[in-house]
């Protein structure tokens, strides 16, 4: 049987600057928190509803360095990758699970006018994107993240 397909595509807005660290062999690991919004109309009341979904996205190596250099809180970008759930133990020894998207493709969007097409913004260039006003101060997936043995 085939291996199957495991693909996620996210176009969203960064809730905070990328967090980048380096592994023992020097490879970069970038963690970012990206918001997408869904809206719908409540069937019973007819009221407009909106919900922000926060995605935890991780990138490795060169792509992580590019993300660190060019993506900032409020930037909009396209990400493509696979969904991965990792098992870890909390301080009480309980099994916990964290799901994230391991992106292997990334394109910056919504940069300066005329700078589209996913071209990298110049260093220091200001993104025109605004953070979503609906975004909470901290992304929910921050919980216990520092405790995760990667």
């Amino acid at each position: 049987m085939a291996r199957g397909v495991n693909k996620a595509i996210i176009v969203g807005t960064l809730g905070q600057d990328p967090e980048v660290r380096y592994t023992a062999n020097g490879g970069a690991v970038a963690n970012i928190s990206v918001a997408t919004n869904e809206s719908w109309r409540d069937k019973a009341t007819g009221e407009a509803q909106e919900r922000t979904e926060w995605h935890r996205i991780v990138m490795f190596g060169k792509l992580a360095e590019i993300a660190q250099q060019y993506l900032k809180k409020g930037s909009q970008a396209y990400f493509e990758g696979r969904i991965q759930t990792r098992k870890w133990q909390d301080q009480s020894g309980n099994d916990r699970y964290s799901t994230e998207i391991v992106a292997n493709e990334m394109q910056m969007l919504g940069g300066r006018a005329g700078g589209g097409g996913g071209a990298p913004m110049e260093s220091g260039g200001q993104s025109q994107s605004k953070p979503q006003s609906a975004a909470p101060e901290t992304a929910p997936m921050d919980d216990g993240f520092d405790d995760i043995p990667f």
Binding site: R3, N6, A8, N37, I83, T85, T99, G110
Partner: protein, 117 residues
């Protein structure tokens, strides 16, 4: 700015039969556990590595009923939907998060043609 895109595509194998329950309004909620595999060669040792990824997939309503009726453990299917993370509290009151795929499209695979619809 647009709402963004939140899309997941999974083609995988069911690890167990679908679990169906009904909401208070009587609509179906079906939970599936679907495996995909990835394989790669270890750069240092050259050994083949394999990892199974398990996806929690939930399907609502009519599509959920179809899934529970026709899908069984070991069968292969295509799912398309959005990624959703739910927050809940464990017994100690700690915040916990569970991520699943809310599928809005499903197709059975690996069946005789007359059974696929």
């Amino acid at each position: 700015m647009g709402k963004g895109i939140n899309k997941a595509v999974i083609v995988g194998t069911l690890g167990r039969d679908p679990e169906i329950r009904y909401s208070s309004s009587g609509s179906a909620v079906v939970n599936l556990s679907v495996a995909t595999n990835e394989s790669w060669k270890d750069r240092e040792t050259g050994e083949a590595q394999e990892r199974t990824e398990w996806h929690r997939i939930v399907i609502f309503g009519k599509l959920g009923e179809i899934a529970s009726q026709y899908l069984k453990k070991g069968e292969q299917a295509y799912f398309e939907g959005r990624i959703k993370t739910s927050k809940w509290q464990d017994q100690s009151g700690n915040d916990r998060y569970t991520t699943e795929i809310v599928a809005t499209e499903m197709q059975m695979l690996g069946r005789r043609p007359e059974q696929v619809s």
